[in-house]
């Protein structure tokens, strides 16, 4: 499997033996040699654990009681998870978070892309600046946002106070039950709007100019062109962006756990945070495993349905 000699073409005789040596290795074998390590690693670190999770979900096993007897409990954990008010509360919190982050990110992201596509001077530079937050560590940035959200001394409160005239110490974005769900939406929107923006921009730039020219000949108004050409052409891109953000935000953990820790009460306790509490604070491993399986089936199911819809739009 070595590559000596360095210049195989220079010496025809050696070339022959080399070929001969490798003649046993068909392309098919090489393909397997190349693919196998990746598949093996994924089997070991993704699939085997998944199977183990399913197994654990049928028991009352607890990670912090290695010596306690383990009992099979059948589907009891699944029944418990699905009848747990806290779980449904988390699902609702996640749904709120998902809906509004997607809504704002699509709205702002598309608008920005549309504006940038006007190709004003320096748009490349500003695009790069807008993109910065997206690439940063959500945990580190989320942690710092708690500082920006501090009543009185925080920049965010000060900013709002500056423009609205209300007292900056009169509201606490992460402490107030009615504001906290929006506090996490704001930070996520700040971080991830550029993602939607970039994808929309690619969509806008992919629209051939000739289509607009044709529309112009038909005397379609700009407004009409926007709705009949721009939007339908960008839609597949937009839907792709929503798919990615949807999956990511369904899994959301780091940013929100740093921002609110799920509080106040369990107002912003998204499913991942709830799961973490069950699995690594209460150490209800069996129960948490059932919870994890349910979450995985949910995200996988929703994503599959969505991808089907996406393909339909794309083929249209």
């Amino acid at each position: 499997m070595t590559f000596e000699p360095r210049h195989p073409v220079a010496d025809p005789s050696q070339k022959q033996t080399f070929r001969h040596r490798l003649s046993g290795l068909s392309d098919r074998t090489i393909a397997w040699i190349f693919v196998a390590p990746s598949i093996a690693l994924l089997l070991a670190i993704n699939i085997f654990p998944l199977i183990w999770t399913i197994r654990l979900s049928l028991t009352n096993f607890r990670t912090n009681r290695p010596y306690a007897p383990v009992k099979w409990v059948g589907l009891q954990n699944y029944r418990d998870v699905l009848s747990d008010v806290g779980v449904w509360h988390s699902m609702l919190a996640t749904a709120h978070f998902l809906f509004w982050t997607l809504f704002f990110q699509v709205l702002i992201g598309f608008t920005l892309a549309y504006l940038i596509n006007k190709k004003f001077r320096g748009n490349d530079l500003w695009t790069t600046i807008i993109v910065l937050p997206m690439m940063l560590s959500p945990a580190v940035v989320g942690n710092f946002w708690t500082f920006l959200y501090q009543p009185q001394i925080g920049l965010f409160n000060y900013f709002i106070a500056f423009f609205t005239g209300i007292d900056p110490s009169s509201f606490s974005m992460i402490g107030d039950v009615s504001l906290a769900p929006w506090a996490i939406v704001i930070v996520d929107t700040w971080m991830w709007t550029p993602f939607v923006m970039l994808i929309c921009l690619a969509g806008l730039r992919a629209i051939p100019e000739s289509i607009y020219e044709a529309a112009e000949c038909d005397r379609a108004s700009r407004w009409r062109q926007f709705w009949t050409i721009t939007i339908p052409m960008v839609l597949p891109f937009l839907m792709l962006a929503v798919l990615f953000r949807g999956i990511e935000n369904f899994k959301m953990f780091d940013l929100v756990v740093q921002l609110t820790g799920g509080g106040p009460g369990d107002t912003t306790q998204l499913t991942s945070i709830n799961l973490k509490r069950e699995a690594f604070e209460k150490w209800h491993t069996g129960y948490a495993s059932a919870y994890a399986v349910i979450l995985f089936v949910t995200v996988f199911g929703l994503a599959s349905i969505y991808v089907k819809a996406l393909n339909k739009v794309k083929d249209r």
Binding site: N60, S169, G261, G263, P264, G265, D266, K282, H284
Partner: protein, 441 residues
């Protein structure tokens, strides 16, 4: 070429494994929380290193992630910590899951007697099951929830006069919770030296244990009990007694009336910040914070006073126990050195030094010393507080029980959902389910 890369990768991986293994051999790692006493312990431990040549390494984690990190460490079978100064409530789980080394034989061999320590700390920090002579830790750091107040503000004549006119009694450290609330209301929103100040800082933190520690500190004196004293785990009418409901209502009222804005998720550090920055007149916190206040540039010396947790409506008076014992981690590869450290730490002269540097010794000979009460302005309040302590469940399921009370208390007190009665009834239900699952009910 690729073989070379492979070999390099394998070698690098092997080197990494080896280096993690090697670093353990000579050093002893002590795990604790990142707080003032930990710094004092670093200072104190230099003497141990000088005597034995064993190098000490420390792993300190802030309180809000303390339990999270180190329970994870214990449960993952990690090898990071040789010595653990773990929270008092961990002891049940750590004992039953064999995560700590049992110390009875070691104590006997080295004539370390538990009778030499403050009884409450022995029960709280060392014993499992409680009130049996099975020791899993040496009491290391006495701690209890109590209060600080701004002595300088309390002694201003104009404020005293106004207070007397309004409430009919002299402005002084409160002896009942009603008085405490009145003082809080009095200071809330007041301008002092051109700055808006607030009544009191209390525990409201959601993620780890904050709001439970704070609420319990009040609930005990209102009549809350964990269980029927005659029938273990029988909680109906104890956890949700009429007194307990009143206590929780009081805690919410205190949160609503008298805390600074944005106090929805505060624990020890936030309390320290609020008090030091001159934001609050009173502050609930563990006594470990006191040496720091005493020497602080803003609030140090005569500006700060200390008082014991006030009495409840029926004159009952309890306080939430904090503090920890020091244990040897069963997974440690340096158990002998770790035991040697405990032996060194138990000596009375080391304990005396411990108090001097800012730690709270649990050794009777230190706290019963005639000079103890006058040695620091806060010494007396500490001793009186230690005499009335109660602690949270130390069951193996402590983490679950705690998460359940955190959720119930935060939901009611901070998020304002439901009533106090509903919160405690719900807590009773949660705890009952947990004990059922453990087979204790």
């Amino acid at each position: 070429m690729r073989r070379g890369i492979f070999r390099a990768a394998v070698l690098a991986a092997a080197a990494m494994l080896a280096s993690t293994g090697l670093a353990k051999a000579k050093d002893l790692t002590l795990c604790w929380a990142a707080w003032d006493p930990a710094n004092a312990l670093v200072e104190l431990s230099k003497d141990f290193t000088a005597q034995t040549g064993v190098n000490m390494k420390f792993e300190f984690v802030p309180w809000t992630s303390f339990a999270d990190r180190f329970l994870n460490e214990l449960n993952s079978g990690g090898h990071l910590c040789d010595l653990m100064i773990g929270d008092s409530q961990w002891i049940g789980g750590a004992a039953e899951n064999r995560q700590y080394v049992k110390l009875n034989d070691f104590f006997d061999k080295n004539s370390i007697k538990m009778d030499d320590f403050i009884p409450a700390t022995v029960v709280g920090y060392s014993e499992w099951p409680k009130n049996t002579p099975n020791y899993w830790a040496l009491p290391a750091m006495g701690d209890v929830v109590a209060w600080t107040y701004r002595k300088d503000w309390f002694s201003r004549p104009e404020l005293q006069a106004e207070f007397k006119a309004k409430y009919g009694w002299d402005l002084a450290p409160p002896t009942t919770f009603d008085q405490l609330k009145q003082i809080g209301e009095f200071f809330q929103g007041r301008e002092i030296d051109g700055k808006k100040v607030y009544g009191a800082s209390i525990y409201t933190e959601r993620g780890s244990e904050g709001i439970t520690m704070g609420a319990m500190d009040v609930l005990y004196s209102f009549g809350f009990k964990y269980e029927n004293p005659d029938k273990p785990y029988d909680m109906q009418g104890f956890v949700n007694s009429a007194g307990a409901v009143k206590g929780l209502e009081f805690y919410k009222a205190l949160y609503d009336c008298c805390t600074p804005p944005g106090s929805s998720n505060g624990y020890m550090t936030e309390g320290i910040d609020a008090f030091k920055s001159g934001q609050v007149a009173m502050q609930m916190n563990f006594t470990f914070t006191w040496p720091g206040f005493n020497t602080d540039a803003n609030v140090g010396g005569d500006k700060t006073g200390y008082f014991v947790n006030p009495k409840g409506p029926d004159g009952e008076q309890f306080a939430q126990l904090g503090g920890q014992g020091i244990s040897v981690v069963a997974n440690s590869e340096n158990k002998d050195e770790a035991l040697q450290y405990i032996k060194w730490f138990a000596q009375s002269k080391v304990q005396a030094n411990w108090w001097k540097l800012g730690g709270y010794s649990c050794l009777k000979s230190v706290v019963d010393d005639p000079g103890f009460v006058s040695s620091q302005p806060y010494a007396e309040a500490f001793l009186n507080s230690m005499a009335i302590v109660k602690d949270f469940w130390a069951e193996p399921s402590y983490a679950t029980l705690l998460q359940q009370s955190q959720a119930r208390f935060h939901d009611y007190v901070v998020a304002g959902q439901g009533t106090a009665k509903e919160a405690l009834d719900g807590l009773l239900k949660d705890w009952t389910a947990t004990f059922k699952e453990d087979g204790k009910l």
